[in-house]
């Protein structure tokens, strides 16, 4: 396998795509948003249980490629118990990692999310990885509008 592919399909990515975590609508969820990638047909719903400023529960449902499922799954594990501000900050760092490689993001600080660091080398796949994040942001805003990464 060539190094770019190994970077893209890291074990963590394959694992989370095969066994997505928090793949459900959490009980008591009070915020939801839908996202879609019309080109791929990827569809995702992100659900949040927001208590004040804190994301108490987060889950997702939907269908998509390995990259979009793994990204959504990893996102839910990273955002549980985080505040809105922390979620926004993480969104920015992940976004930066997905679009420009490591850049000024320190991968070691991103934990398992660093498994998505190979995506930027595949421009056609960046929107797969970012779909869940944009959808989460929409849910957090409470706008509830449909997000599209096209």
């Amino acid at each position: 396998m060539n190094p770019e592919l190994r970077d893209l399909y890291q074990e963590v990515v394959i694992d989370h795509s095969r066994k997505p975590r928090n793949f459900r609508k959490p009980e008591g969820a009070n915020r939801s948003a839908e996202g879609m990638n019309p080109l791929c047909g990827d569809e995702i719903k992100v659900h949040l249980k927001l208590a004040g400023d804190v994301i108490e529960e987060i889950g997702f449902e939907g269908a998509g490629c390995a990259i979009s499922k793994a990204s959504a799954s990893l996102m839910t594990t990273a955002l549980k118990s985080k505040t809105k501000a922390e979620a926004e900050a993480l969104f920015q760092r992940v976004h930066s990692m997905l679009t420009s490689g490591q850049g000024n993001v320190r991968l070691e600080e991103l934990g398992k999310l660093a498994a998505l660091s190979g995506v930027w080398e595949f421009p056609a796949r960046v929107k797969c990885a970012s779909l869940a994040w944009h959808t989460m942001r929409s849910a957090l805003d409470g706008a509830g509008t449909r997000v599209s990464t096209e």
Binding site: M1, N2, L5, C40, G41, C65, A66
Partner: protein, 418 residues
Amino acid sequence: MTALAQRSVAGAPGLDVEKVRKDFPILAQEIRGKPLVYLDSAATSQKPRAVIDAVVRYYLQDNANVHRGVHLLSERATKAYEDAREKVRQFINAAGAEEIVFVRGTTEAINLVAQTHGRARVRAGDEVLITEMEHHSDIVPWQLLCQEKDAVLRVAPIDDHGQLVLEELERMLGPRTRLLALAHVSNTLGTVNPVRRIVEIAHRQGVPVLLDGAQAAPHFPIDVRALDCDFYAFSGHKLFGPTGIGVLYGKSELLEEMPPWQGGGDMISSVTFEKTTWNKLPHKFEAGTPDIAGAIGLGAAIDYVSALGFAAVAAHEHDLLSYATEALRDLPGLRLIGTAKEKASVLSFVVGDVHPHDVGTILDQEGIAIRTGHHCTQPLMRRLGVPATARASLAFYNRREDVDALVAGLHKVQEIFR
């Protein structure tokens, strides 16, 4: 396997693929350090040098507007443009060149028919019949028409192999049906529909038929008079010609009675502020400066394919399709989507539970270009119960080695998603 294809397996009849490949400059390149394996001809075909040269020559030597100037360049451009129309006429065996309307592509051709013939004929409560395997471009124009006219869009079903259920289709043709529109060949499944029989069935009920020939024209000769279809649409770029040019064939009596579509220059006979009279066919439907270079390129593509000979092309593609079908069937976990008896060289498939986009990315790393997604046939995907498929589509410039490379690439996919 037909006798023709068996001969080609033995290497007998005349398509020298290696020689043919030299006519396609783009094929001789590496993608990510690997030889390009182009298996996406159903999306768009590659262009032989003869086509590229014809377009370049036109711009270098003959460029001028058509049907207007009295100067020599305009005369040459007009002749080249109208010669291309005559080549198209011969290619599909239309009765007259006035039945050949140049458009941007299949999509525009279908929209033209929907917006002129359709708008003039369809009334509230009438029906337009399509099929479950249609491309979005043969769904949405009819949807728009039916919405506007308060008419009903009906959809004839397919079976699990991806073949039309003819009895159902026949049953759905009724006194309110104003038009039947269907694909000659399915872009997603490769199914070749028995269109001659279908046209006969529809005509028995007095229903005109539009055939979407985008995926048929690159694979076998089209004879619109033998088919007796009322409209036939296809694109230049899938037929080894340039993008931006396509053809609408219509029976002249139908085209005559249709109102014009777009207004502008070239489509008029005379204009006053009070009243305009239309130019004669086919110019009535060609408002504005057309894609002259595109038409000339399409003419060159038709010359090229005709010189190869469709018998040789069909035999070669049939051999490739059989070879590829067997090779893919042998891959554990791989499921072919679309297993009609009559197929063009299009293979849709899914690999276990791996999403087609992941398949496409991994194959791309091997230099292999395939299409992944819904192929602009979302209702068909829903019918088949898959969100997307991977699709390898073969043209006469493909070889068995390309299929071997695909199989090797799919092994890599399975290795990564073990």
